[in-house]
């Protein structure tokens, strides 16, 4: 067990270092001098002095290996440098946007799990009936529909129904209020994006739950449980679901990428000032320091998430633990 954990944790380090090298070199692949691109893009006049200052600010006047070291070392203690667009520290920019994205991510996961597991289970138990077909179509629909479009349609429906009911269309608030200050306002803002992202997030897990359930229901121990006269409900809840959920847990971790991708576009639809929107703005504004920090941050979170899932999996499944 400890051997496995140690091995798995050690594997994270080369991945993260590799990712850091990739991000670092990608940002230096930009054709031309990023300071010239940055200063010249606004049509502003600039002089060599300004470029030198800019180079100095982002540390480009140092040798490459030292720049890389600064990047990695800075990242290790949350010093991501200074945003090339706003001039504020990147860490401050990120910290201001983090709560809202985290909240939506958390709510979306809750939505996803509470859609995926019951529906996937029903679909497997009623295999090849109309219920199965409906659930599977619903799941493929979730994979096929872009989340920004679900968001747009959700806004459209909310506007129309509230307009018809109260005579005045209602829009969810867009400014972030912490949940402990005004829970109603907070939730009314977060719930639509959470459902939008959550539905997409749930689609793959729903299919996974279904196929895992189908596999488990054919196992010998299910037949044994039936043979000893156990109630079908107990068999499903205690024996089948417990084993079928293992791969689903892994998937929820891996599909974290879905969540990030969903947040990037959904925050744009709902005009929410979260990390996803910050990312898009950073790319639009050619804010390379901010883009670099955000990409690296996402990758780190993603890699750590996968690590957590793998460890959880080992803890849940003794076959891995003692292998």
């Amino acid at each position: 067990m400890y051997r496995y954990i140690a091995k798995r944790i050690l594997l994270v380090i080369p991945t993260l270092v590799g990712a850091a090298v990739l991000v670092f070199s990608l940002m230096r692949l930009i054709p031309g001098d990023i300071c010239v691109v940055r200063l010249g893009s606004g049509g502003a006049t600039f002089n060599p002095q300004a470029i030198a200052t800019c180079h100095h600010e982002i540390g480009m006047d140092k040798p490459l290996w030292l720049q890389f070291w600064d990047f990695v070392w800075g990242f290790c203690h949350f010093d991501f440098g200074i945003s090339m667009w706003s001039g504020k520290p990147v860490a401050v920019e990120i910290a201001a946007r983090l709560p809202i994205s985290l909240e939506i991510a958390l709510l979306a996961t809750i939505v996803a799990v509470s859609i995926a597991i019951p529906l996937g289970t029903i679909s497997a138990l009623k295999q090849n009936t109309w219920i199965d077909v409906v659930v599977r179509t619903f799941a493929i629909g979730g994979i096929a529909t872009p989340s920004f479009w679900i968001g747009i349609i959700a806004i459209l429906v909310v506007l129309d129904t509230t307009g018809a009911l109260f005579g005045r269309p209602w829009m969810p608030p867009i400014d972030y209020v912490p949940i402990w200050k005004d829970p109603i306002r907070n939730l009314s803002m977060a719930i639509l994006p959470a459902i939008t992202v959550g539905y997409r997030y749930s689609a793959v897990s729903m299919r996974m739950t279904r196929s895992a359930m189908l596999e488990v229901m054919r196992e010998d121990y299910i037949r044994t449980a039936r043979a000893k006269g156990l109630m079908e409900q107990l068999i499903v809840n205690r024996h089948a679901l417990k084993n079928a959920l293992l791969p689903v847990v892994t998937l929820l971790g891996i599909e974290f990428a879905f969540l990030i991708g969903g947040l990037v576009v959904t925050e744009q639809v709902f005009n929410l000032n979260g990390i996803g929107r910050l990312f898009v703005q950073a790319v639009q504004n050619q804010d390379y320091t901010l883009t670099q920090a955000l990409v690296m941050l996402t990758v780190t979170v993603f890699v750590l998430c996968n690590l957590a899932v793998d460890l959880l999996y080992a803890w849940l499944d003794p076959r891995i633990r003692f292998a």
């Binding site: 994979i143 529909t145 459209l156």
Partner: protein
């Protein structure tokens, strides 16, 4: 956005010699009979492809022509799907958008897929250190969620159709290589690869002529899924304003401009392009699923 395929998808393929035009037809008919749902997906894909190819002839208007007499006009006989805020015909833009989606989707998934195929098979064939290093490189690449990698590439090379294709191709390569490699690992152990080696054939010949054809089934399944994903990714990038740029007609881009602003007054601007994306990706998804069920004997009779 990742693809869920069985890790150990090793699927035998019927030998190519016997496949003539006639048996292709029979295979297709057989597929339609066994997988009606998948056949429906294939039909959607075909409709989309034909629409994209013949856009010049079937579109009633030019996709970029403004008619300032008819801005945000509701669907009518003159404009079946209405007009947008610049007086452009929605139907024509959706028809030409199919072409953009097709070009971006097919190019990026084919280039990414074939690069992944060759790299994956080569990695499995050579094994040892090469395979190990390649696997770690894949680990690193796959630590970037698809859309994040695409955005990072766009931030370097800029927007536009070509750059979007590059941005979507790069993250697809390791994803394809991973799956192909696991299938190729099993094939490397098969006797005919040893036989080919004993005959003194070169590495390139063994990889391309003996191993690649035998991982075609999982590869094709994945390719179908990739096209759908690539179309979705293109739509997302264009929606964010970081993909295809005006005046090129693209579905994601059509949703960017006026969709929210005119949500209540002109809902058709928001509804139809999204439907087009959904139906197309839906078609590719169910076609890919049916293809997998038909080609993977392990999943048959489920």
């Amino acid at each position: 956005m990742s693809i869920t395929l069985p890790r150990d998808a090793t699927i035998p393929v019927p030998s190519d010699e016997a496949v003539t035009a006639n048996s292709w037809l029979r295979l297709t008919l057989d597929f339609c009979r066994r997988q009606p749902f998948g056949a429906f997906g294939m039909l959607l894909v075909l409709i989309m492809a034909v629409t994209g190819l013949s856009a010049d002839w079937i579109a009633p208007y030019s996709p970029t022509a403004n008619d300032f007499e008819a801005m945000t006009e509701a669907p009518s006989w003159a404009h079946w799907l209405g007009t947008d805020q610049f007086g452009r015909d929605m139907l024509s833009r959706i028809i030409f958008g199919a072409r953009t989606a097709l070009v971006v989707g097919l190019t990026s998934s084919f280039v990414g897929g074939i690069a992944g195929l060759v790299l994956g098979v080569a990695s499995a064939y050579f094994g040892g250190h090469i395979d190990n290093v390649f696997q770690r490189v894949c680990d690193v690449m796959m630590a970037f969620p698809l859309i994040i990698m695409a955005l990072a590439v766009v931030s370097i090379f800029g927007t536009g159709v070509q750059n979007v294709i590059v941005a979507i191709t790069i993250p697809l390569i390791p994803r394809c290589a991973r799956v192909v490699r696991s299938s190729a690992l099993a094939i490397r152990e098969v006797a005919y690869v040893d036989a080919a080696r004993a005959c003194g054939y070169g590495h390139t010949r063994i990889i391309l002529r003996h191993m690649v054809p035998n991982v075609m089934a999982p590869f094709l399944i994945m390719l179908t899924a990739f096209v759908g994903q690539a179309i979705l990714a293109e739509a997302s990038l264009s929606y964010l304003g970081l993909g295809v740029q005006e005046p090129v007609p693209a579905w994601g881009l059509m949703l960017q401009g006026g969709a929210e602003e005119y949500a209540t007054t002109a809902p058709w601007i928001a509804v139809f392009p999204g439907l087009a994306i959904m139906v197309t990706v839906f078609g590719f998804s169910i076609f890919g699923d049916a293809l997998r069920d038909a080609l993977d004997p392990k999943l048959r009779n489920r």
